[in-house]
């Protein structure tokens, strides 16, 4: 299969790692596309939880915001937000939590708070939201970020969410931390002993050098680097149809209330 974008490869790669009946805690953007693609293809029993309180939602189009009406209307139930965080996430009932950030370091720690010092930031970012506790308590964390030396950095400006940081085992975190970092060139996975991220998977046609150049620290390599299969025709068709439905739905003009 030729003629696919890197975004599509990234989305498909993330979707393939999800399994039927997996309970996922989903964010907006590419993670939401990946989870819904998995649900529409190989994992029809995938359970989507959005932090707005919608459980087992089955949207026909991708939401623009985490609290779109579509998510509530197609959910098995809608619960108050404190319940999602305490009784589902903290209680250890989420298999996979998705995270992205402005910065990631070699141990999968994430920054979505500030660039520059906290008290006088050069760039104030949105902040933690659900990320800190997703990083701690989801059984696994899938990080999804485009690779560039600006975002894959040697040292974070601020640690919003913990990856494989020193002392994690005794920290009270219930989950295992990041198990994969899905980028637009390949997939990084933590080394068993150190928790340091290493290149484990490359997308077709992308050389190792490109992956190393996209990361702001000397990137470790797994002894055997797998080259993942390109998106299948069925995967691309399902993803493009989902995105076309989404675009059409979001083009509908909204009438101001009277």
């Amino acid at each position: 299969m030729s003629g696919y974008s890197r975004d599509e490869m990234m989305t498909v790669a993330a979707a393939r790692m999800l399994w039927d009946d997996c309970v996922t805690f989903v964010g907006i953007g590419l993670p939401s596309a990946a989870c819904n693609l998995a649900r529409l293809t190989h994992a029809p029993g995938l359970v989507l939880i959005y932090e707005s309180g919608t459980i087992n939602t089955r949207p026909t189009v991708l939401p623009l915001s985490i609290g779109d009406g579509e998510l509530a209307e197609t959910a098995a139930c809608v619960v108050p937000l404190p319940e999602i965080f305490s009784d589902y996430l903290q209680a250890g009932r989420v298999d996979v939590g998705f995270l992205g950030a402005a910065q990631i370091d070699r141990h999968g720690n994430l920054n979505s708070t500030v660039i520059g010092p906290y008290s006088r930031p050069r760039t104030r970012l949105p902040g933690a939201g659900g990320a800190t506790e997703i990083a701690a308590h989801a059984k696994q964390v899938f990080i999804v970020m485009k690779a560039s030396p600006r975002s894959f950095v040697a040292a974070l400006d601020f640690r919003t969410s913990g990856g494989h940081f020193a002392g994690r085992a005794a920290s009270g975190a219930r989950g295992g931390g990041p198990s994969v970092v899905v980028t637009d060139v390949g997939i990084l996975k933590p080394q068993a002993a150190s928790g340091e991220l290493a290149l484990a998977v490359l997308y077709p046609g992308i050389p190792v050098e490109e992956a190393r150049a996209a990361v702001g620290w000397p990137l470790a390599l797994r002894p055997e680097i797998e080259v993942i299969a390109p998106p299948t025709a069925a995967e691309l068709e399902a993803l493009r149809a989902l995105e076309a439905r989404t675009a059409a739905a979001h083009r509908q003009p909204v009438r101001l209330p009277t």
Binding site: I66, G67, A72, R124, G127, G130, R159, R168, S171
Partner: protein
Amino acid sequence: MTDFLPLSGAIAKHVADGASIALEGFTHLIPFAAGHELIRQRRRELHLIRMTPDLIYDQLIGMGAARRLTFSWGGNPGVGSLHRLRDAVEHGWPRPLELDEHSHAGMAAAYRAGAAQLPFGVLRGYIGTDLPAENTRIQSVNCPYTGEQLATVPAINPDVTILHAQRADRRGNVAIEGIVGAQREAGLAAKLLMVTVEEIVDELPPAMNSVLLPHFVVGCVSHCPGGAWPSYAQGRYARDNDFYQRWDEIARDRARFSAWMARHVLGTTDHRGFLDSLRPVVA
């Protein structure tokens, strides 16, 4: 007894300069009309509390109404930055803003504690993060039974919580449908709860297991159709995603922001006027 007042009268009566106020609603049912009325009445020195400041706090902050912000995620959902919030934090414009920053789980626990009238909330949270180093209100406690160290956050008890809901009845019972966020907890945590509603009905049907704020916790109800726009009211009108995208352009520039606020908020007398000012002119 629940008061029934027009929104302008409710704000004038219940929200003082310097008050701590929570306008809750997670993406859904955000009380925009009430926020605009705070701006029209030139409230100052407010302590704003909201998990997701959203466009309404971007507007209040940009108009200089806020001294302090308690929050857990300060972006424009699905779009990007809140430029007025960023300008206040990065450049102190139009005035510096104190931050009391949390995670969603932490703020949810703080609202729950507030609703239960407990002094603090407890959670297995703030693990592996720098947040407690920057916010000394995030502390910890050792469990008396297991010895485990758990994070604590002081209860949030706003002077006034303002919510938007679909319906109230004439006694002041308030019914909410759809995504409820932390509305119930924020409402019960408040010293005074004000609610704007799409519709006031003679009687609400029995609401087994659904979200209802009973009249004896509701201080004041104002009839305000469309009061959540550009967020939405499930079953009434949809979220105006296009406006959220346009806001990125409006708010990016100080002068453009100020002109927009002058025309559509300060230049109108109420929420109906605000909505009418945004309707395309029909020839």
